[in-house]
């Protein structure tokens, strides 16, 4: 006897849950999916003479990207991202690795010490670097004081300054990624290798490095993604000398009012980013971002 009441019992529970997810569904569809879809649509439209958009389908915007000036910018952005990521990997990997070898108490403290700058507004951190880098700033003060240089290094508004700024902002991502991977490392494997005759370096190379590689790789991806978008670091530390995709997009949007083109640029940027994300998912086989948060 399968009563009709049996079905209604399941339905009643489902009704409440449906109501519960409604806000999220509505918000997401309206304010996340909607804008994204609009972006893509816009990138295929033509630009009106002075202001606005004409409803004509065109791929002109995408073709414009292939003009040398824009391609160069993409290239520069990618190059900067690669440089930053490499630096971050070089600096961050040992940090994460060493951190994982600390004892429990120190590990917690390290986490806290790392999290603090992370939470602090990125602008504050940037400002700190301005102080250091500008003419007669702290760096000059130290270098001239010691006597290495006798004229102020005009480091602000140069490429290296931007690179430093990026590395500074992105380092925590890499460190966390490497750390969480290294923390799970079974140290007895290293001991076994040493027992079997490996030197410290060999043991590291064959065991530790291989096993923490996922952490390193996911850190690379986690670093690369934001590095494409952190245009305001380049803006502040690089002035007009360093131009990235982000800067162009902003320029096209605000000054040139070429919305479709800006949209096309954004779409391309997004595609690059999602390729990175896809790689991240493949590497870590993680379905959600709990590690990031």
């Amino acid at each position: 006897m399968s009563g009709s009441t049996r079905v209604s019992r399941k339905k009643k529970g489902a009704g409440l849950s449906l109501l519960s997810v409604m806000p999220l569904y509505v918000f997401t569809l309206l304010f996340v999916l909607g804008p994204l879809v609009y972006l893509v649509v816009l990138s295929f439209l033509e630009r009106e003479e002075v202001w606005g958009v004409v409803n004509r389908f065109t791929i002109k915007n995408y073709l414009s990207i292939f003009e040398p000036i824009y391609l160069k910018t993409f290239y520069e952005s990618v190059k900067l991202a690669l440089v930053s990521t490499s630096l971050v990997a070089i600096i961050g990997y040992p940090f994460g690795y060493f951190m994982a070898k600390l004892n429990a108490v120190w590990r917690k403290r390290m986490m806290m010490l790392l999290m603090v700058p992370f939470w602090i507004s990125s602008l504050i951190r940037l400002y700190g670097w301005i102080i250091i880098f500008r003419a007669n700033g702290t760096l000059d003060w130290i270098l001239m004081g010691i006597g290495i240089t006798d004229a102020p290094l005009k480091l602000l508004y140069t490429y290296p300054a931007v690179a430093v700024g990026m590395v500074y902002a992105l380092l925590p991502f890499m460190i966390f990624s490497v750390y969480s991977s290294a923390e799970k490392l079974d140290w007895s494997l290293v001991e076994a290798a040493r027992d079997l005759g490996a030197t410290r370096w060999q043991a590291f190379r064959t065991i530790s490095l291989k096993l923490t590689l996922p952490g390193l790789l996911s850190g690379v991806v986690l670093t690369f993604i934001p590095s494409m978008g952190l245009f305001f670091i380049a803006d502040i530390l690089g002035g007009n000398k360093v131009v990235l995709v982000g800067n162009i997009i902003q320029e096209q949007l605000m000054k040139a009012h070429n919305w479709p083109f800006a949209a096309a640029l954004s779409v391309v940027l997004m595609i690059l980013t999602s390729l990175m994300i896809r790689m991240y998912r493949l590497i870590t086989r993680v379905k959600d971002l709990e590690g990031l948060v």
């Binding site: 918000f27 804008p35 070898k101 954004s266």
Partner: protein
């Protein structure tokens, strides 16, 4: 593995120091009498006084706090309801919606800024606090959602069954058992969202109106044009606030770990 060399610790210390120097410099110079940071003029609080007299800055500060509060709370409501609902009603569309709703923290911020700018123009929404709130809520939701979802997944499901067995209706069981247990996750999410919202400059720049300024925007524009140590004072204050929020968030997540599951143990 035993550390025979001091290399690891030295390295860690070195990098840490490098990480903190910029922040410390900013804080240090907020107390500098002299306007030019390379010259130390003596300890002074005059920049803090000037800060509090700057109406525009104060207004921006209020805006930022209001924005952060409203966004994080809205995100908490939407995100929590969403996570709870999805845990109970396993629809096939859940996965997609989850993916899309967490996109805002996966995308470069500039893209987020742009799509909101374009979209709001399209639907004719006037730029200002409203648009700021919507935009901020969108990137706050993932934080709450992910944290609550994780907490729900780790919760002992038999607790809800026990409540029902003892006489609670579905709603009562949720209020009495589930909700108190996910509360730390919600609170963590709110704090994290609050901090992220306070910090946001890129997205805010794109979706703000002419007359609305948030703190990060103000700082940003000043950094580009010309800086007075007032900014240092401001930054120091923000530093302290964010620090407190962060510590609270950590403290909360520690509380979470204690009464997580009703675990079985061996005897006395």
């Amino acid at each position: 593995m035993k550390n025979r060399t001091k290399l690891p610790n030295v390295y860690l210390a070195f990098i840490l120091v490098l990480m903190y120097i910029p922040i410390l410099l900013v804080i240090l110079y907020s107390f500098n009498e002299s306007k030019i940071s390379s010259v130390w003029g003596g300890f002074s609080l005059k920049w803090y006084e000037e800060l509090f007299r700057d109406k525009a800055l104060l207004e921006a500060m209020v805006n930022s706090i209001v924005l952060a509060t409203v966004s994080s709370l809205s995100a908490a409501v939407i995100g929590t309801l969403g996570a709870v609902g999805m845990a109970r009603a396993k629809l096939r569309s859940n996965g997609i919606i989850e993916y899309i709703s967490t996109l805002p923290i996966m995308m470069p911020e500039i893209i987020l800024g742009i799509i909101f700018l374009l979209f709001f123009s399209l639907i004719g929404l006037p730029f200002g606090m409203t648009t700021l709130i919507i935009a901020h809520t969108s990137f706050c939701i993932p934080y709450v959602f992910i944290l609550v979802k994780a907490r729900l997944a780790g919760m002992d499901k038999s607790l809800v069954e026990a409540a029902r067995d003892l006489g609670a209706s579905e709603m009562r069981a949720f209020l009495d058992v589930t909700f108190p247990l996910i509360l730390p996750a919600i609170a963590s999410g709110i704090l994290l969202s609050f901090a992220m919202s306070l910090d946001d400059v890129v997205i805010s720049v794109f979706v703000t109106g002419v007359n609305t300024n948030t703190l990060p925007i103000k700082i940003y524009t000043q950094l580009k044009t010309g800086v007075t140590p007032k900014i240092n004072a401001l930054c120091t204050l923000m530093f302290v606030i964010t620090l407190i929020l962060g510590l609270l968030s950590v403290r909360l997540s520690k509380v979470q770990n204690k009464p997580v599951k009703s675990e079985k143990e061996e005897s006395l």
